[in-house]
């Protein structure tokens, strides 16, 4: 397989801009026919795309701000462990009864915790929708957190952490988060540590569960359901949840700029993870930065990094740049790997691309190709019921207007070559890059990390 593991989905998210008040759409066919469904009684809103061509309904939802960043430092992994156990028994149903009902009715229900948000996803055949909604409501309102499944999920997480210690990419990411976000909750291990997971009790999970409020909810639904029915359903599922106090977020500056870290490991190929400050989603330069990054390294084949480093020199199987956006930090990352002896050359080639992007305008062809991909690839991300529900969720998490997808092409097309040069000059700074290397590279000056942070 030719590596191309960037997710097109991310690109769309990267192009999101804040609410634009002047948008008055002309009468043209909509990209997606999004209905805003509001249950006045509970004040809960869901975005819906109806599609009755396949008897499937998908729902994605997030409790904004309820993610792992709120974990106490000695109980890292709390949000994650809660997400693992919310579907392990609820109401009168034990873990096995709950799971068996899901499986026998082919309902997929899962919860997850990112650094910022606590989320869930439900997918069901139309014929089983009543049961699916009932189980989701039960899981959200009456989770049991019985000792047995909690213990089992704790063990499974500890096992996952120990297995991850064989994975140099995981180690590089762990060190990178620890160094970039030093002093901020994002530096913690959102998957928990071997000792913190032992400290989390069922009561902690129950306490965490109470922090999930209906006033934080963001919901996207797609498939075989209409607005009238959905309105009732969102009231039925979510209205019993409490309202909670919403915390303010503010941006935290990246730490340890310009430093290089190495974790020595006797493996043939070194993993390289680099990051510098990214761009905030409400920046006026957001689209220009998106196009710049696409040209630099997001696009895989055809990107400058891939062409220079893989295609011309055969130094790696894959190299990508990408923006990461959290509520409280923004980064621009490069990740790649190469045989130990080439690490130094690789890093200097990456720096060279930084310099080039800052000093010379991109070509007409580069900008046009980037625009046509970013605009043209949208339909491909809307080809399954759950991917549509996922996009509806993301749009809302990014505070975008319901007609955003119809305005998106225009925003992208309006970016000029000069815009890209000016944003490159403003944000790209090779001296501020924090680099983490895992492996046995030659000739690299770096601070040596001996203990992987927040694992034990």
């Amino acid at each position: 397989m030719r590596d191309k593991n960037y997710i097109k989905f991310l690109l769309i998210i990267f192009c999101l801009l804040p609410f634009s008040t002047f948008a008055k759409e002309l009468q043209k066919p909509k990209f997606l026919d999004i209905q805003v469904v509001k249950d006045e009684k509970s004040n809960i809103t869901a975005w819906l795309v109806e599609d009755h061509s396949i008897p499937v309904i998908a729902m994605s939802f997030s409790f904004r701000g309820a993610g792992a960043k709120n974990d106490p430092i000695d109980k890292q992994g709390l949000a994650r462990l809660t997400s693992n156990t919310m579907d392990e028994g609820a109401g009168d149903l034990t873990s096995q009864e709950f799971q068996k009902t899901l499986r026998d009715m082919s309902i997929s229900l899962s919860f997850s915790a990112s650094r910022d948000n606590f989320s869930g996803a439900l997918k069901t055949l139309s014929q089983n929708k009543e049961k699916a909604f009932e189980l989701l409501k039960l899981a959200l309102t009456k989770p049991r957190f019985d000792e047995e499944p909690v213990g089992r999920m704790r063990d499974s997480n500890k096992s996952r952490i120990k297995s991850s210690l064989s994975n140099p990419r995981w180690i590089a990411a762990r060190i990178q988060n620890d160094r970039l976000f030093e002093g901020h909750p994002y530096a913690m291990n959102s998957g928990g540590t071997l000792s913190s997971l032992d400290k989390i009790t069922s009561d902690d999970l129950r306490k965490f569960h109470k922090t999930l409020g209906k006033n934080q909810l963001v919901i996207g639904v797609a498939g075989d359901i209409n607005a009238k029915e959905l309105k009732k359903i969102i009231n039925y599922i979510f209205s019993d949840l409490p309202d909670v106090k919403i915390k303010e977020t503010k941006k935290y500056p990246l730490q340890n700029a310009g430093k290089t870290y190495i974790y020595k490991r006797d493996i043939p190929q070194s993993i390289i993870a680099m990051a510098q400050k990214g761009i905030s989603r409400d920046s006026k330069d957001y689209y220009a930065a998106t196009l710049m990054n696409f040209i630099l390294g997001e696009s895989g084949f055809g990107s400058r990094l891939m062409e220079e480093i893989r295609e011309k020199r055969g130094l790696t199987y894959g190299i990508y740049s990408y923006f990461r956006r959290y509520d409280e930090a923004d980064t621009l990352n490069v990740s790649t790997s190469t045989v130990n002896k080439n690490v130094k050359e690789m890093i200097s080639l990456i720096y060279k691309e930084w310099d080039k992007m800052k000093s010379e305008p991109v070509s007409k062809e580069e900008i046009n190709d980037a625009k046509s991909y970013i605009i043209g690839s949208l339909p491909l991300s809307l080809t399954s019921t759950d991917s549509i529900a996922g996009i509806l969720l993301s749009l809302q998490l990014e505070h975008l207007p319901v007609d955003y997808l119809d305005m998106r092409a225009e925003k992208i097309n309006s970016v000029t070559i000069d815009d890209i040069l000016s944003v490159s000059k403003r944000i790209l700074d090779k001296n501020s890059i924090t680099t983490v290397i895992v492996g046995a590279p030659k000739g690299i000056k770096a601070e040596v990390i001996t203990d992987i942070p927040n694992v034990e």
Partner: protein, 478 residues
């Protein structure tokens, strides 16, 4: 749509009308007499074969104005000449390095991917033991362009020596990334080498490093010329298209290519073995042990009936947290934190059935292995329950509905099944075939292939991934 409750009832009560398509899918001793139930076809695919032998399969799906175009070649790593391991995969990489064919155009190295991306599309390729496939997903109006360029590279590869040399380095990096940096992959590579003695599945798809380094242009071009031809390929297209239009475009593009004299597939076979094999890898980067056991079992092409029974068995033994193995070993006995039981019937020769577990601690490994054996013995002795059978079948049929909820998914499923010897009818009627699998058949395949007391003519290979310093005193699998 599927009326699941009716199916469960009918399965138990009515009479089975045997299928003619796969006679082995029925069991003459079947006591669970079931009626022939009309289950809808999964994809409603349409097919046509060009004069040059290229089979085309189209799945119409009008949800979104996009299309996936996939070409599947009936050649993979297991068809490589001896000593040239990795050549099928190397060739796959080189197909992105430029080609030209009279009437279909000329393309620079990397140009095809760039064209696809310019159109907002996605493209990639992959190689397995039995097939090599290339695909693009694009807006539907660009389908003809994709077909033109893909047809040109079926017979018109034109790659420069310097690109071969630099791509060889890329593939070495790929091998380091996938395998050499990863103790779990290293172990699995060795388990397969032991399981498939004297069969090419013993060689990894990416190739052995020392052989990959030496692959040259002549060898690669010879392999390409021999196997890349319309009569050795299947074209699968799914998306917002009309089948007849696709057939017409295919005729104008792929249709101009001559068929080739592709050699008939010849594979060596393994002799029966009797000794148990245990392979242990102590590795300094391992902190969590892994227990693995792999068996040789029939693929769908080799034995459709047994293959279908193995699919249902997989669902019963390994399908999530309510499966037999998970309930017994993870929840009840706490011998493992995770366990999997997997089977994939789409292979030309023998398929692999794998059991894989994360032991709850290193000193529990023997007990874990014993407990897995006990579960298998219980399965062989007592079989499965009516409820297990009907619930599994219902879930599997629901999965078939979900399979339609995707653009490239149907092309993928059809592609790897057809290219490994299933007929289109087999795939379309899978939901129905599955509903005819009986308890007896499942018990029979378990007894034949998984019996810990009497292993089939190829005993399984067991693997242990362990931390460096801890030594196990274990002698071998039972």
């Amino acid at each position: 749509m599927l009326k699941r409750i009716c199916i469960i009832m009918l399965l138990c009560l009515l009479i089975l009308f045997p299928f003619t398509k796969i006679s082995s899918a029925k069991d003459s001793t079947n006591r669970n007499k079931t009626k022939h139930i009309k289950v809808p076809k999964i994809f409603n695919a349409k097919t046509h074969t060009l004069d040059n032998g290229l089979q085309i399969i189209v799945v119409e799906n009008h949800r979104s104005p996009v299309v996936t175009h996939m070409i599947w070649y009936k050649v993979g790593a297991a068809d490589e000449p001896q000593g040239q391991s990795g050549i099928a995969h190397f060739l796959e990489h080189l197909l992105f390095k430029g080609h030209e064919y009279k009437g279909l155009g000329s393309y620079e190295p990397g140009e095809f991917s760039k064209i696809v991306r310019k159109l907002g599309g996605e493209d990639n390729a992959f190689t397995s033991q039995d097939y090599t496939a290339y695909y693009q997903s694009v807006a539907k109006e660009h389908l003809e362009k994709m077909m033109t360029i893909e047809a040109a590279r079926m017979r018109g590869l034109n790659v420069a020596e310097k690109d071969i040399a630099s791509e060889n380095k890329v593939i070495q990096e790929e091998r380091r990334q996938r395998t050499d940096n990863n103790p779990g992959s290293l172990l699995l590579e060795q388990l397969k080498a032991a399981l498939f003695t004297n069969h090419p599945y013993s060689i990894p798809v990416i190739g052995w490093m020392h052989e990959v380094k030496k692959l040259n242009k002549d060898q690669i071009m010879e392999f390409y010329d021999r196997y890349y031809a319309p009569n050795n390929a299947v074209l699968v297209i799914s998306g917002d298209v009309i089948a007849q239009d696709v057939f017409d475009i295919a005729k104008r593009t792929y249709g101009i290519l001559p068929s080739a004299n592709t050699p008939k597939r010849k594979r060596t076979t393994s002799p029966p073995f009797i000794a148990d094999t245990l392979i242990t890898l102590h590795h300094e980067n391992v902190k969590e042990p892994v227990y693995k056991r792999i068996y040789r079992v029939p693929s769908y092409r080799q034995n459709a009936g047994e293959s279908l029974a193995l699919e249902v068995l997989e669902e019963i033994m390994g399908g999530g947290s309510t499966s037999r193995l998970y309930k017994s070993l993870v929840i009840d006995k706490k011998l493992a934190t995770n366990i999997g039981f997997s089977y994939q019937g789409a292979a030309w020769d023998d398929s692999i059935l794998g059991i894989s577990a994360t032991p709850s601690s290193i000193d529990k490994i023997e007990e874990l292995e014993q407990a897995i054996s006990n579960e298998l013995k219980k399965l062989i002795k007592e079989g499965i329950t009516d409820e297990e059978l009907s619930d599994s079948i219902t879930r599997m049929q629901a999965d078939a509905i979900y399979a339609r909820d995707s653009l490239s998914g149907p092309a993928m499923i059809i592609g790897y099944n057809v290219i490994t010897g299933s007929s289109l009818d087999d795939i379309e009627n899978w939901s129905e075939y599955i509903s005819h699998v009986s308890k007896d058949q499942i018990q029979a395949v378990a007894k034949k292939y998984l019996n810990p007391d009497m292993p089939y003519n190829h005993p399984p290979v067991t693997g242990l991934l362990l931390p460096k310093k801890l030594k196990t005193t274990k002698k071998g699998a039972e």
